[in-house]
């Protein structure tokens, strides 16, 4: 089984490469990268005008299975990932049952091997049932295949539990991913607190509810010397805190979701429930801070927080709608359009945000690189292709996107997992 990708622009920050090359894949591994490789019986994929990047990794996805198969299944979620240019995704533990045990982890990973078009990595719960008080069997979760722990959807409110989780997970160098939100400050808010929440009469979630938890986590990470990863960071205050902590050498990393750099609280004005997620769409100042941090390297990766819900669940009053939007099938186009074509960041930086860095943060062996011998997970991009987002054509079961109808420049062209083309434009 040989696949030869010809004449593409190879962008691989892990080996400082950005040049036109051929890439040869043999038996699911990267075999050779050269200016010109003879076809010699290989299946050929022409890539003129395409970017060849190490496979994209979305480290923040809700696959919903087991328990909420009406929203998404492992099969549909993986198909959405493939269509969105992702070769690997990490699934959050807020399923039913919660992934707080090795049995659930193994179930998810087995289902993914059977039905998933892309690689699936599991993230285990920090606490049993994500209830926030008793640690899960983190060692066993690790043995079952979990690459990180998180109670995502819920913050770890108790600082002592956070400390213990960091110290315990640190034994395996597993990052602890925290959804940073002080629930007291957030009250029962449904959107960002600011001018627009006041005009719309919707309850606000203040930026400081995120800031205080990020600050707390930085203090605990600093004191314990362990690795905290901030999920879906969304405020200027949190960015400033992370930037400063990194400068001091604290082991902290963070991700930003595309909707937070593409939209603001102003977009809630229609009361469209596809603008409702946590953290909420923030102010324009926050958005500008995120863009600056994507540029200067404070942000480590882009992750979608793909959160599918059914049409009926979202077709209700804003207050009653569940939080979350889908993101797998729009993230790459939004990133190319808003970050690369706008001139904010280079293609190399984008590949870092979507592949190299998440692989490094999670310690995923053989991922995030096109070095010889790496897993042959490759994302091909067509940076010039103009698309119109059409939610009706999503592979995901979720249609809850605020980007429906958006015209964007740049899209995935093909998704290759272990040397096999799993999706092509």
């Amino acid at each position: 089984m040989k696949l030869l990708i010809k004449n593409g622009r190879v962008v691989d920050p892990s080996q400082d490469l950005d040049d036109t090359r051929d890439v040869l894949i043999v038996e699911g591994k990267i075999a050779k990268i050269d200016a010109s490789i003879p076809e010699a019986g290989a299946q050929v994929l022409q890539a003129v005008g395409r970017v060849i990047a190490p496979g994209f990794i979305d480290m923040h996805v809700h696959l919903r299975e087991p328990g909420y198969e009406d929203k998404e299944t492992i099969r549909t979620g993986c198909a959405a990932a493939a269509a969105g240019g992702f070769t690997s995704i990490c699934c959050m533990p807020n399923t039913n049952p919660v992934n707080d045990s090795r049995a659930v982890t193994e179930y998810i990973l087995a289902r993914a091997r059977e039905e998933g078009a892309v690689n699936v990595y599991a993230i285990g719960a920090i606490t049993r049932g994500s209830q926030g008080d008793l640690l899960s069997e983190i060692g066993d979760l690790r043995a079952g295949g979990c690459v990180a722990i998180s109670d995502d959807g819920k913050p770890v409110s108790n600082a002592l539990i956070m400390r213990r989780a960091l110290e315990y997970a640190g034994m395996w160098k597993m990052p602890v991913i925290d959804h940073c939100e002080d629930l007291n400050l957030a009250e029962n808010g449904v959107m960002h607190e600011g001018y627009y929440s006041t005009v719309l009469g919707l309850k606000g979630i203040p930026g400081m509810s995120e800031d205080v938890m990020v600050q707390r986590n930085i203090l605990i990470a600093s004191a314990t010397g362990q690795h905290v990863h901030i999920a879906h960071l969304s405020t200027a205050g949190a960015i400033a805190a992370v930037r400063e902590a990194k400068r001091r050498g604290v082991h902290i990393t963070c991700e930003v979701a595309p909707h937070h750099f593409a939209l603001t609280d102003k977009d809630v004005s229609s009361y469209d429930t596809s603008t409702k997620m946590k953290p909420p769409l923030r102010s324009e100042e926050d958005r500008q801070a995120l863009l600056a941090a994507l540029k200067d390297g404070t942000v480590d990766c882009i992750a979608t927080d793909h959160a599918p819900h059914t049409y009926d669940e979202k077709n209700v009053e804003y207050d009653y709608a569940p939080f979350g939007i889908v993101g797998l099938e729009t993230a790459v186009s939004l990133s190319l359009d808003r970050l690369v074509h706008s001139g904010l960041i280079s293609m190399t930086r984008l590949v870092g945000l979507l592949s190299t860095n998440p692989a490094r943060i999670l310690g995923l062996k053989g991922k995030g690189s096109l070095r010889i011998g790496s897993d042959a997970d490759v994302t091909l991009l067509n940076p010039q292709r103009k698309i119109t987002v059409d939610a009706d054509r999503f592979r995901s079961k979720g249609r809850n996107t605020p980007f429906n109808g958006w015209k964007l420049k740049g899209a995935p062209a093909a998704t290759i997992v272990a040397g096999k083309i799993v999706w092509q434009e």
Binding site: E187, N188, E193, G194, Y195, Y196, S197, T198, V199, L200, G201, L202, G204, P206, S270, Y271, D312, N315, V316, E317, Y318, D319, Y320
Partner: protein, 321 residues
Amino acid sequence: MQLRSKHLIGIEPLTRDEIQLILDTADSFKEVSTREIKKVPTLRGKTIVTLFYEASTRTRTSFELAAKRLSADTVSISTTASSVQKGETLIDTVRNIESMAADCFIVRHSCSGAPLLLTRACRASIVNAGDGSHEHPTQALLDAMTIRERKGQIEGLRVAIIGDIRHSRVARSNIHLLTKMGAEVRVAGPGTLLPTGIGKLGATVTTDADEAITGADVVMMLRIQQERMDRSFFPSLREFAKLYGLNRERMKRASPDAIVMHPGPINRGVEIDHDLADFERSVILDQTANGVAVRMAVLYLISQAAAGAAGGAGTPTGGAH
């Protein structure tokens, strides 16, 4: 002239001319309620449904009387938000009733944005009778009508709005309306009840009730909505009344012919001192009376806009002599 939309969701999207039209039309409709036969056939054959997901006596009664005085058929449905959450969705409820040929829904709901949601889900006209902390457009219109009657015009007046600004849809609609019509609006309340960015709506903001009232031509007191407060925003009603309640002493700071307004129902002894709610410059009962006229005007103009939106298939009447 007519309204551009067949829905009334808020004051924010209305133009100054549209507000003027509603107020002028309300002035004309007011006469109907003074007749012995308080009824005109204007909306004969129309079906108007009041759908109240939040308790309200006065607003619903006012809308129902308005609809009946225009000869529309009215149906009223009231239910509590909690029972609705268990059963049918709002959209399903409205679509079901709409299929029985309802022309207009008057909706009150505890969720901001619920009436707007309905405009996307059905064909009937939607009139917002108060949604969450968002808007209560007919209240602001009847307040404006009352102010105009008492003061001649709105432009140039100094209006103080005092109390729980954060949770008040009445405050938001009034700020939108009064600033559009050229009044100077000041809002005052405890820091915990002043929402972020309220100043950007065009009002000056203070925590000092005396400062806001000084020189005011209109003093509008808001109701303390205990049902909307799931956290403590101030230590006690006693302290609130002391700092923000309207009493004769505080009223002396206002302009000598200032009027006192309240959207009702009043928590006597809290927002307004016991003896002040009935005093000669309180226009609270005028507000209630004008409510019917304003709502008649709104229902008439909304129906007219809906007929226009439907294509106005009829022949030109050439003056209809």
